[in-house]
């Protein structure tokens, strides 16, 4: 059977060597997991930045974030540009907010761009990943920090904690945030982890197919920093799958040791409904399976549908909602001639 070819390849009779994977994860966690406080000496980071001769851009992707965007810009600009010259630019990449997000961001000193006005010849797509991809063209930094704009307890360590490992280890390409630490309780150690989608979907998938990536405490966290040289070589899903794709693509190119993760303590943000998480999961699955097909040579992998079906009921009426979710992707940005021209690449 056609199905057997890919199915047997990825569900082999013999498991991969569990001990090897565990050793790898244990070693990586020891050497590549940090706490933001390890980078709180900002003068040291500024010096490291000069030594690496790099510029750093902070990108805040937005869609209707007027309640939180002002505080993020004020704190990060004051502490990491005005007081300590760590960041070279702060820009808001907006998806077309209908509230006053853009006006507020501009009034507090951020560069504000409408994603639809960047690379117009490439067309307009809607999604956070689209903004992140276009930020690569719009912003000039050698290192890009992405921070979600809905954080109510923003602190400077959200940015310097992410960029710190990249400045202190030139071999790292990508640093991911996580927020909770395992708490030692009287009864033992409480399992620390990500949100619902991470624990129910992504971690089981990684455990099955890419077990080393389970080393990330929160693979879907929206805050990360990466070198341009890495980001420009990978495609960007425009929607829910962008974080998953980053991990899989960079892992495929450079392996686990290209990554680090940083504990940023607490992050307070909006909670999402289960239906919204269902949509997110659907998009992530598309991204994941497309990588699985490509990286593991699953030529016989079946096609999948792009309609998510959810239910709602009112009184005694049961209704199925059909939501079309196409996890469209942008190509590696260095494939664009306009990008190569702008950044002086042959």
């Amino acid at each position: 059977m056609k199905q057997d070819s890919w199915f047997r390849r990825w569900f082999p009779a013999h498991s991969p060597d569990v001990a090897d994977v565990s050793d790898t994860i244990r070693a990586w966690t020891t050497t590549h997991t940090f706490h933001h406080s390890q980078f709180s000496d900002l003068s040291r980071l500024v010096q490291a930045k000069r030594q690496q001769d790099v510029t750093i851009s902070l990108c805040l992707p937005t869609l209707n974030e007027e309640r939180t965007i002002g505080k993020e810009i004020v704190l990060l600009k004051a502490e990491l540009m005005d007081r300590n010259p760590l960041l070279d630019e702060i820009a808001v990449l907006d998806s077309g907010s209908s509230d006053r997000t853009r006006e507020i961001a501009a009034s507090f000193g951020a560069n504000v761009h409408l994603a639809s006005e960047i690379l117009p010849e490439e067309g307009i797509k809607r999604g956070k990943g689209e903004n992140l991809w276009k930020a690569l063209y719009q912003m000039k930094g050698d290192i890009i920090i992405y921070i979600d704009a809905d954080i109510t307890n923003i602190r400077p360590h959200f940015a310097y904690g992410l960029v710190g490992p990249l400045l202190e280890d030139p071999n790292l390409k990508y640093v991911k945030a996580f927020y909770e630490r395992p708490l030692t309780l009287a009864s033992g150690t409480r399992v620390s982890g990500g949100g619902r989608v991470t624990e129910i979907l992504v971690r089981p998938l990684f455990s099955l197919f890419f077990p080393e990536l389970t080393a990330f405490v929160q693979p879907l966290s929206g805050e990360y920093a990466a070198r341009r040289e890495a980001l420009e070589r990978i495609p960007f899903p425009i929607g829910y799958g962008v974080e998953t794709a980053h991990l899989l693509d960079i892992y495929n190119l450079w392996g686990l040791n290209a990554f680090a993760q940083v504990d940023l303590d607490q992050r307070i943000h909006r909670n999402q409904s289960t239906h919204a998480l269902g949509k997110m999961s659907f998009g992530i699955l598309q991204t994941f399976f497309s990588r699985l097909k490509e990286f593991k040579d699953c030529s016989g992998f079946p096609e999948w549908a792009e309609v998510l079906r959810q239910h709602q009921c009112q009184d005694n009426n049961y209704e199925q909602i059909e939501i079309l979710i196409t996890e469209d992707e942008r190509p590696p940005i260095r494939n664009l001639e306009s990008y190569r021209r702008k950044f002086g690449q042959a």
Binding site: R67, T68, G70, L75, D82, I104, F108, T152
Partner: protein, 389 residues
């Protein structure tokens, strides 16, 4: 420094410089404002403030035995010393969410108006003076004082003034709001609680047993019938009433919190005696135990409106187009007055308490902050020449 007229000429440039550095000021405001700091629990916030003092290069950054945060900015001559003080504590101890929002024109959150902006002005002042290239002849002591509110009763600043090893020649007390206030005199004030408790044993089975609420209501009624003079101005504020657990249970204990304010110390003492009598009499009549607990007490006094320091302050406000709000205060100024130090209390911006959300959620305007900071530097520069002429 320069004459007052020369100082006023700098204001357009100072306003622009204050606006340019606004992010630093607001960042300090958010970060220190989100650190819980109830009276007697100010240490984490004071630590943040001291770090800022260190970063700004102040001398002798330290805390004293009351936990006050102190920074010293030496003057070029150092013959005089000006104290700039803001209280670091907040009234409420169990605020669950102390996050501050920055909107387009306003900042919203618990205690932003009491007293986060004033504290941010304190931490921002050394940077601002440096940016404005203002070098004062006088030493400046920056004091983030502890234990000011409630039972604290200005314990922090009083301790500093009586135990500090530098004599302050003049003082400026900072409050977040309202911009334009120019408090040169102190109201007499007595803040107290009346506790009403059921005695042991209490006959719970007796039909018609009223518990503690009715006696306290009686006390409230009798206090409200006391005639209060308009000259000297005297008021009684009934601020809090706590007690009981459910509709159908007799309340075992009720606490009434109130404050008397008067321009006359004699009237203050007379009112205290009358309220003691009311409490005692009601206690006897109701068979409950009623006690009067004085939390804090301050005598009236202060500068005359014609004092040179008040005149200088008013000139600065006038040059900035701010109508002065001249009224007596119950703030930290009374500690300066008690120590014989001429001083003023000023506000940094405009704001209000947001009753639609929560009694501790406050909203302050962003735009006037630069004017408020310029006012602060202007008054300091004016005080630099001395406050007696």
């Amino acid at each position: 420094m320069e004459t007052l007229a020369q100082i006023l000429e700098h204001f357009p440039a100072w306003l622009k410089a204050a606006l340019d550095a606004r992010s630093l000021f607001m960042s300090d405001l958010v970060m220190l404002g989100e650190i819980p700091s109830p009276t007697y629990g100010e240490a984490p916030r004071i630590e943040f403030i001291l770090n800022r003092f260190f970063e700004a290069g102040l001398d002798r950054c330290s805390t004293d035995t009351k936990g006050n945060g102190i920074g010293f900015l030496p003057g070029t001559h150092g013959r005089q010393t000006i104290l700039v003080a803001a209280h670091a504590d907040t009234l409420v101890t169990d605020c669950k969410d102390q996050s501050i929002e920055i909107r387009e024109n306003r900042m919203i959150g618990p205690f932003v108006g009491d007293n986060c902006i004033a504290l941010a002005a304190l931490t921002h002042l050394p940077t601002l003076l440096q940016n404005l290239q203002v070098r004062l002849k006088s030493n400046v002591i920056l004091l983030a004082s502890t234990r000011a509110l409630g039972r604290g009763n200005l314990e922090g600043i009083r301790h500093f003034l009586t135990h500090g090893n530098i004599r302050c020649d003049s003082g400026l007390c900072l409050e977040s709001v309202q911009l334009g206030r120019m408090n040169y005199a102190c109201m007499g004030m007595m803040r107290a609680e009346i506790h009403c408790q059921l005695p042991d044993p209490y006959n719970w089975a007796q039909f018609g047993a009223t518990g503690t609420i009715i006696p306290v209501a009686d006390v409230v009624m009798r206090i409200s019938r006391i005639p209060l003079p308009k000259r000297p101005l005297t008021t009684i504020i009934m601020g809090r009433l706590n007690g009981g657990i459910a509709h159908n249970n007799i309340a075992r204990e009720v606490t009434l919190g109130f404050e008397i304010r008067s321009e006359s110390g004699d009237i203050l003492r007379e009112l205290k005696e009358r309220i003691e009598d009311i409490a005692e009499e009601t206690s006897a009549q109701s068979g409950t135990r009623i006690t009067l607990d004085i939390l804090s007490q301050r005598d009236p006094g202060g500068l005359d409106i014609g004092h040179p320091l008040v005149k200088k302050g008013r000139s600065v406000l006038s040059a900035l187009g701010i109508p002065p709000l001249l009224y007596p205060t119950t703030s930290q100024l009374s500690a300066l007055r008690d120590a014989g130090i001429p001083g003023l209390t000023i506000g940094i911006t405009t704001g209000e308490r947001r009753n639609d959300l929560d009694e501790i959620d406050e909203s302050v305007a962003i735009e006037p902050m630069t004017t408020g900071l310029t006012q602060l530097v202007g008054i300091l520069a004016a005080m630099d020449e001395g406050v007696t002429a």
